[in-house]
Symmetry: C2
Subunit: 311 residues, 2 copies
């Protein structure tokens, strides 16, 4: 069985990946800086956790010392779009430099397969369904731009070194253990204030996927694709769900009535892509479809987050 | 008149830009590290030259101290594709980090217009004409990937700070004072060896534009565009010219017979896009067309380089 290295392996995507797929692999090396990653122990003793911040190249290969690595899953990144708005260094260091350093790791271990968590945010703001063949790419957040910069670095690396690269463009992903995102934000605001202030007027409408389905889709694509550089949207191709609907689903969890106040803008913050619909033909044609709609994914995640928060 | 700041202002593109367009502007600040830039003096005393390497952020604002800057033309980059093949740091530092630092300069001076020299290399290797709307972008060289990474950073910056950005995707640009490129390489090889060894089998076929036409096109687009982020191919939409034809035009400059030896691959080196044709509808529809074909641009440049080299 292949040994794998997972960057950001203790985070939201990484934890779910390991829970669902660790039996497919031999030794599993996890690199995490634990800025958002959870410190809970992992269940299996074939997992080795390396605490290291991949934005630092200095002493990287002293700290990261594996036997063999056959495959990389690179999830380490800034995962919080608003936090990178004021200062590009947040996404530059945590998303782009971590990618360059992970490429250096892949090079050292002569890895032949590299999987990367990219984002729908690379497209920018369009009023048509986002398809992989769409251009030009004009990301409107530093989050999106440093995901695109990472894609670019992976393309030239994968071509030259003959490493197969899967670039998964994620939609909004929901589930537990969420570390940020609209649902968690809403619960936190209600707990703090007793009411819910929504960023934007609630009309923002986006595509969501449950994290367990995301992992299933990536695993499927990874087993099927034979492209050198495979850029693929992972998600739902339905019309998405509005922020207003999400807010209403969240407040329904409370016995007492929670007042919802909407803002005036049709976007949540500068750099927020207010509406997007995914074209997932490539994924569907490969043979994978989600079981849950955007709406049902969100509803399930609301239950899971509510239960986990013990509200 | 607007003051402008030109990065890489002493280089191939920068020198031609200043020769043709300096009368349109007020004060002109040039930043160059003179790694390839020419040390010849500039003709006008409204030009201020700052010797600084933009890959360093340290002391950047001590060295770069301008009065007002209204517009930036960002040409500083690694301009030599093969030199960045072995080590991504060449393009990472000289193309991408220089862009991030130039964005920081733009921010400091509250610049409202930013022009960037990108490249057809962002597309990767396609067998159809390269159009701005084409995707997914899969650059095959670190040169192309760090140009794309720079585009990405400029998109999110331009959107958030409401700075109008022109992203010019260049074809192969020829003329003097060339610092590298196929024509100069051929003359140097003939001088050194007395014969001409060509990288690849000569079938590589690409679109070329003369540098004086490139400057004219950029100036035209800059005066016409009203897009926030304007990504546009600059070049010829003809079928291009083969390396074999270029080699034959070069050897014709000599009185004695020069033997041409071709390689076996249909590409020049790993990361070389062997064939490309540009779709320039966007540029043409805006109202600009080149006067010279790819063939005639190359032929003119061969004369100019031959004369300048005093062969």
């Amino acid at each position: 069985m292949n040994n794998i290295l997972i960057t950001g392996g203790a985070g939201f995507i990484g934890r779910n990946f390991i829970e669902l797929l660790s039996s497919n692999y031999g030794k599993i090396y996890i690199i995490d800086n634990f800025s958002l990653g959870l410190r809970e122990a992992f269940s299996s003793d074939k997992i080795k956790v390396i605490e290291f911040d991949l934005k630092n190249e200095f002493k990287m290969f002293d700290e990261i010392d594996c036997e063999e690595v056959h495959e990389i899953w690179h999830f380490a990144a800034n995962s919080d779009i608003p936090s990178g708005i004021k200062n590009i260094n947040v996404d530059f260091e945590n998303t782009f430099i971590t990618t360059l350093n992970t490429i250096k790791i892949a090079n050292k271990y002569k890895v032949k397969k590299f999987n990367f968590a990219s984002s729908s945010a690379v497209y920018g703001d369009w009023d048509i369904a986002l398809k992989e063949s769409l251009g030009p790419l004009k990301p409107i957040s530093n989050y999106g731009s440093m995901k695109l910069a990472s894609e670019a670095a992976l393309c030239s690396f994968g071509f030259k070194e003959e490493v197969d690269i899967n670039i998964f463009r994620f939609p909004n992903v929901v589930g537990v253990p969420a570390t940020h995102g609209v649902i968690l934000d809403f619960f936190k605001k209600i707990k703090l204030n007793g009411f819910l202030d929504v960023l934007g007027n609630g009309t923002q409408k986006k595509s969501y996927l449950h994290v367990k389905e995301l992992i299933s889709a990536m695993n499927f694509v990874n087993s099927k694709s034979n492209e050198n550089i495979n850029i693929i949207n992972i998600g739902n191709n339905d019309d998405g769900i509005t922020v207003k609907e999400i807010a209403e689903l969240v407040v329904k969890k409370y016995d007492n009535e929670i007042k919802i106040n909407y803002g005036e803008n049709d976007y949540g913050w500068i750099g927020d892509v207010p509406k997007f619909k995914f074209n997932t033909d490539k994924l569907n044609n490969l043979g994978w479809r989600p079981e849950l709609s955007s709406h049902d994914s969100v509803e399930l995640a609301i239950d899971e987050i509510f239960n986990r928060l013990n509200l």
